[in-house]
């Protein structure tokens, strides 16, 4: 058996579930309530729903999906701006596939494409640099969403465009950083938390030491973990153990890919091209220094500076994605869920993205 198989092995998974239930019982005896943890990674949200862990543990541990899906926290204004830009005849808009079906105020990028806009789905932003090179008469704009996992690749795309001396490539930066939003959530005091299930992929870039602020400033523990059932359960188990032992700690439970210091090459790339910015979060609003934009010396690659778009306020809907990404309500508490809003007819981004909390609940947790 390969080592990765062990993390999905049904017998080990069942034993791990029992172990979590038993420590959770002890927590309940000690504190008179169930432990509450938040995951801030869309892939964790999906995995917890898909594997059945969230359902199985529902009476033992409260797992709240936080703002971990990059599509879900993208402000509607950015999508409206992208649709507007894509309608210009000299523009090729490049994007990750997930953004195609996110509704803007009027319609989606998919609809814009049907109407004739040149919109291309790419797997990597670097591919859009190639498109710019092949289409010198067009302006190629990449819709730059993403957390720390994606940001280095955006920087790499700019690096490539600069190296190739392209003047027709730019990125609409609307990136998000994990730390500022976690701080904002903790400072808002909206939700009482006992710890964080920390993102596996983001941590590969940031490293374990990045999370020291959780212990130092908020007396909060966290476990960095992977995405397989046994990894997720091990993370939850360790978080409960820390509570039982009254310890506050960051544990790296994903050591084979996450280092203390993170990925130096990726961090250098970010430092070289990008600087902090008060990014606007869907449903939350602007948070100081919570996103990254291009430094002023690379302004020629900054689509926000290069193009004018009208800044109308987005159309309001009854979508409660904002509260869902903050972990304040579950998708089922939104009146649109599974009625007006479904993956086929999404009203908000949480239903569109494969990492969205609403999509996870729709796909994997609807009643049997």
């Amino acid at each position: 058996m390969r080592s990765m198989d062990l993390f999905s092995n049904p017998t080990i998974t069942r034993h791990s579930i029992e172990a979590v239930m038993s420590v959770a019982e002890r927590f309940k005896e000690k504190k008179g309530r169930v432990p509450v943890f938040m995951e801030v990674c869309g892939s964790h949200t999906m995995a917890l729903a898909k594997t059945g862990i969230k359902t199985k543990l529902k009476d033992y541990v409260k797992l709240i999906a936080g703002p971990g899906c990059p599509v879900c926290v993208t402000d509607q204004k950015s999508i409206d701006a992208m649709i507007q830009l894509s309608e210009q005849s000299n523009v090729i808009l490049c994007t990750f596939g997930d953004m195609m079906r996110v509704p803007g105020s009027k319609y989606t990028l998919t609809k814009a494409k049907t109407e004739g806009s040149d919109i291309r789905v790419v797997y990597s932003p670097v591919d859009s640099v190639k498109i710019a090179e092949e289409n010198p008469e067009k302006e190629v704009i990449f819709l730059g969403v993403g957390f720390e996992t994606t940001i280095p690749i955006l920087a790499l795309a700019v690096h490539e465009a600069k190296r190739k001396k392209l003047t027709n490539f730019s990125i609409w930066m609307t990136t998000k950083l994990v730390e500022p939003v976690v701080r904002a959530l903790l400072e808002s005091g909206e939700e009482r938390l006992d710890g964080f299930i920390l993102p596996g992929h983001v941590s590969i870039v940031l490293g374990k030491q990045n999370y020291n602020y959780l212990c130092n400033d908020y007396q909060m523990s966290g476990v960095i973990t992977g995405f397989k059932p046994v990894q997720l359960l091990s993370g939850i188990y360790k978080l409960i153990q820390l509570q039982l032992e009254d310890k506050i700690e960051i544990i790296n439970d994903y050591t084979y890919v996450v280092k203390d210091e993170g990925n130096a090459a990726a961090l250098t790339l970010i430092d070289k091209y990008l600087e902090p910015f008060a990014e606007e979060w869907r449903g939350i609003g602007p948070i100081p220094d919570s996103g990254l934009v291009l430094k002023s010396e690379y302004v020629q690659f900054d689509a926000k500076k290069k193009f004018n778009v009208s800044k109308e306020s987005p159309r309001k809907t009854k979508c409660r994605c904002g509260e869902i990404v903050r972990g304040l309500i579950t998708p089922e508490e939104c009146t649109l869920f599974n009625k007006a809003c479904s993956p086929t007819h999404p009203i908000g981004p949480c239903m569109v993205s494969t990492e969205g909390t609403c999509a996870a609940h729709y796909q994997y947790m609807r009643g049997n």
Binding site: P10, I17, Y123, P343, T344, V352
Partner: protein, 335 residues
Amino acid sequence: MVKRISLAHGEGGELTHQLINDVFIKSFQHHEQTQFDAAILKWDATNIAVTTDSFVIKPLFFPGGNIGKLAVAGTVNDLAVSGAIPKAITAGFIIEEGFPMVDLEKIVQSMADEAEEAGVKIIAGDTKVVEKGSVDGLFINTTGIGDLSEQRMTPEMIKEGDTVIISGPIGDHGIAILSARQDLGILTDVSSDCASLNCLIQPLLKQVNGIRIMRDPTRGGLATTLVELCEDFNITIELKEATLPIRKKVEGACDILGFDPLYLANEGKVAMIVDKKEEQQVLQLLHQHELGKGAQVIGQVTSSDNGEGKLLLKTPIGTTRRLQRLSGLLLPRIC
């Protein structure tokens, strides 16, 4: 010989004649004289099964096949899983101006090879050429005709306790197409499972009583196909996640890209409901055949009259979740 297809190849004149003779007849020849505008079939079937399918797959060539092989196998399979013996196929080609002749020849030859393998004749065809940009290379439509004089399947007998079997690992075609589209930047050596299944299915139907129904889980994957089956017959099927056959490479690619193998297309698999009593015999027969050697029991019918059909999945940790049909777009143009 000309290297590329031109509009004149579709005009019905000399070049069309040449194209038909040099490419199509050369490959599809079956020594039967054509005297009329339509092909005439002579056979005594009390029931005839007919199916049609259009193929717009991108890319045209992929590991494990090409659009031609797929266009024959896809239609043969629709007949075969309906219980019919595939007999004849017609093929309509819509070709983009400038399409390389050598590619067309390869594709047409694959169709001929696959038709021979499946024991069907390609009896009629049509070619149209459209301006550059009007189609993406080549689209093919095939219509299949099969003999359904004897229906051996008994869907009306589906009952609680019946077994659900899949003929082999799922998701291969979906991942092969994804990998062949190099713009996604992943490369695995997973081949499409594209194959005609009648040689697997016909002997099975002949030898075993108690096969209730079959479906081929193509677009939308196994989950979507079974959801539809459950709804069609108002039954509940419970699949066991741990028993689903999935290749490691397919699972790995799905992990990276966020896909679920249950929703990836298959082009050479059959899912079937069989009487529990015949389960072992069916497995044994499937395992004897190259196309069925990965066959596995993946679940059972847990209720056969619940008003509303549903598909459930039992996870390894013992929770059950309901599977829905594929929602939204996974990947366009996979077949």
